[in-house]
């Protein structure tokens, strides 16, 4: 087992500072056991206020109908589905970090996976709101479930991408939640065993499921998380693929294209990592976790951002080329009149998207910029704005000029309640995140302990000696 400890000196440590196992526990449990600061309260109350505004906006939509929104005859999807796709996309980074990076044995994931998975779950919760309330008669929402009913039984259309969405999003939410929670059980056990107050002992006692840390349990938990990672990896790719099918299987110019699945998945990871950066840069500073979420972590995530941003850029250019090369007049119209045209009503959105998603992340080719916190923070927000515009451009510019010119609206812009709904999901997201950062261990305690002796700064120093030893002797000494 000690052979696994061997790691090159060239890699920078994943845990900074001379930490012991107990220090790790102390550092991560401190925010949970102490009182939150003033900033926390301010942020939390603002989030709740936004959430309440969102609830009121949805209330108006339910009571008065979809007419409360400015979606109209050709632009039937508008902000609502833009926001849905945007939130689902953000929800992809968590599973990518926790599952794909686990399979690739990227140990830097251990510092950031907990918060990223939490973000995933909250983002998917927000995303799910949009298609549900967009149904209009939301009290009939349960019609989407295939169950033997008194209407025939009439079944949903299993061959429809919208039906696939129902399955994909609900499966994705459930599996992410299970993955997240199974990893949380041992850490709740840690908090329970340290709890000083009766209530905390009771609450975390329930949450920890009676976790003891038995070797057999660890063995099973490791097996469980490995298989869940193996399942979640194709799942996360399938979810945004299916979301892209909502568009790609229709015969709308600008949507009817086979590059949508990889293009959407890359975009989802791109925006998801940007959101992780935004959240973690603040979290690590406020909770004092710079030793666990190090500059190395941030740099690694910035590398993912520049890679996926460039893939997205390639997709944009491919789309433009195909619109020209196909010589299809509708495709050309969608791309060269409605989108990539400064004088079209939505040209600004297209070029804004191009700048935010393709041009701006290129700055991360420079190491200095990747490791600069302010640049990272600023760009993570720019990228998320850009990715919102991407979905807006795809939906609105393809819909506002349909096949029948007499029904063209001049311009689609959202109503206050449409905006309110979007703002409300921000409220939901941040309310959940604030509660998470107060009551949950934001870093996977057990998983960080696992890599402490491999990549902890204090232990890495000792590895100089190991490097000098001949391999045979080292292997011999390490074999039990």
């Amino acid at each position: 087992m000690s052979l696994l400890r061997y790691e090159s000196q060239l890699r920078e440590p994943l845990v900074d500072g001379n930490k012991t196992y107990h220090d790790v526990t102390e550092d991560i449990c401190r925010p949970i056991e102490g009182k939150p600061g003033k900033l926390w309260y301010i942020g939390f109350y603002i989030s709740v206020a936004l959430l309440l505004f969102g609830i009121y906006s949805v209330y108006r939509e339910v009571v008065y109908g979809i007419g409360q929104w400015n979606v109209n005859h050709t632009v039937g999807w508008g902000w609502d589905i833009t926001n849905f796709v945007w939130w689902v996309g953000i929800g992809h980074a968590g599973t990518l970090i926790s599952a794909i990076l686990l399979l690739f044995r990227q140990t830097w994931r251990n510092g950031v996976n907990r918060a990223a998975e939490a973000m995933t779950i909250f983002a998917v919760m927000c995303a799910g709101q949009f298609p549900v309330w967009h149904m209009g008669r939301v009290w009939n929402a349960f019609f989407v479930f295939p169950y033997p009913n008194s209407r025939g039984p009439l079944w949903p259309n299993f061959a429809s991408p919208l039906m696939w969405d129902v399955f994909a999003i609900s499966t994705y939410f459930t599996v992410s939640l299970l993955f997240w929670y199974s990893g949380l059980i041992p850490d709740f056990g840690t908090i329970r065993d340290r709890a000083k107050t009766k209530f905390r002992k009771f609450a975390y006692g329930i949450a920890s499921f009676g976790w003891s840390g038995s070797t057999k349990h660890w063995q099973r938990l490791e097996s469980l998380s490995l298989v869940l990672a193996g399942l979640a990896t194709p799942l996360v790719l399938s979810v945004h693929t299916i979301v892209s099918f909502d568009f790609a299987t229709s015969v709308i110019p600008g949507w009817h294209t086979t590059i949508f699945p990889p293009y959407f998945v890359a975009g989802a990871i791109f925006s998801g990592f940007a959101m992780v950066q935004t959240l973690l840069l603040v979290t690590r500073k406020v909770l004092g976790l710079q030793g666990y979420i190090t500059l190395g972590h941030i740099e690694a995530m910035n590398k993912v951002i520049v890679l996926t941003g460039s893939i997205v850029g390639c997709a944009y250019l491919t789309e433009l080329f195909m619109a020209f090369y196909s010589q299809n007049q509708y495709e050309s119209y969608a791309f060269f009149y409605s989108r990539a045209n400064f004088f079209s009503p939505y040209g600004w959105a297209y070029w804004g998207m191009m700048f935010c998603n393709v041009v701006s992340p290129q700055i991360f080719w420079f190491r200095k910029m990747r490791r600069n916190l302010w640049v990272t923070m600023f760009l993570s927000i720019v990228v998320n704005i850009g990715m919102w515009f991407e979905r807006f451009v795809i939906i609105v510019t393809s819909l506002f000029r349909d096949y029948l010119p007499s029904s063209w609206p001049y311009y689609y812009s959202p109503s206050i309640w449409e905006i309110g709904f979007y703002v409300g999901t921000f409220g939901l997201f941040f309310t959940c995140y604030f509660l998470f950062s107060k009551y949950f261990p934001v870093i996977a305690i057990a998983e960080v302990k696992q890599i402490l002796k491999v990549s902890g700064e204090s232990y890495k120093e000792k590895m100089d000696k190991l490097e000098e030893e001949p391999v045979e002797e080292f292997a011999h000494a390490a074999a039990h």
Binding site: M1, S2, Y21, H22, T25, P146, G152, P153, W155, N157, F158, A159, P161, M163, W164, F167, A168, S170, T171, T174, V175, L178, S182, I185, P186, T190, R192, D193, R194, I206, A207, F209, G210, W211, S212, G213, S214, T215, K216, H217, W218, Q219, R220, L221, E222, S223, L224, L226, V227, L228, L231, A232, P234, S238, I242, A446, E447, K449, Q450, H480
Partner: protein, 195 residues
């Protein structure tokens, strides 16, 4: 369940724990359990535990999901209520793949987690005796069950010699779960030697 007597030894480093586990097992003691703050790789092998079959269970749940989804959709579209959707075929297999895949993953994941909780006897409101409150923090806690033949004092001295910084005796109800060490663990002399 009846109360039993346990000798509880705490270690503060897994580099001390591994040789200790070996020594204890060579001396013929049966280890009830070792509680660790994180998944110590190789400890299950050192204790002589067999590999878990949880992944096999996951596979079975998965293929059940595949079968259920594919079967249900085919039955609905072909036999129960054949709908004419734009003149497309009644059995559009490629269009069934997304839902089949999602159901496979869903059943596999949910089934595995429930099985995990059942096998380990984990769940909300489950009360267990915890031998050390630091086992979830930074201590590696080895627990040995005393039989009528065990000389407790000898065992305590032996454990201290192996490097335990704290040894105490506790009486408790043994926790149980499926696949306890009593059934699984082979004595070290019976194990085939590995190079």
């Amino acid at each position: 369940m009846a109360k039993k007597k346990f000798v509880v030894a705490s270690f503060d480093d897994e580099n001390v724990l591994f040789p200790a586990v070996k020594k204890v097992r060579l001396a013929g003691y049966k280890i009830h359990d070792v509680y660790t703050p994180y998944a110590v790789h190789g400890l299950d092998k050192a204790l002589g535990l067999r590999e878990t079959s949880l992944h096999t269970a996951g596979f079975i749940y998965g293929i059940s999901g595949t079968t259920i989804a594919l079967g249900a959709m085919s039955w609905v579209f072909v036999s129960d209520w054949p709908l004419n959707i734009g003149g497309k075929p009644h059995f559009p297999l490629p269009a069934f793949i997304p839902i089949t895949f999602e159901t496979t993953v869903l059943l596999s994941a949910v089934g595995m987690v429930l099985t995990f909780c059942y096998l380990c006897q984990l769940g909300p409101f489950v009360k267990k005796h915890h031998f050390s409150s630091r086992a979830t923090d930074d201590h590696f806690v080895m627990v040995i069950e005393c039989t009528s033949k065990t000389n407790v004092e000898d065992l305590k001295a032996f454990l201290s010699n192996t490097g335990a910084f704290d040894v105490n005796v506790q009486e408790a109800e043994a926790n149980w779960w499926l696949g306890t060490y009593d059934k699984e663990q082979v004595l070290i002399k019976d194990e085939p030697t590995v190079a």
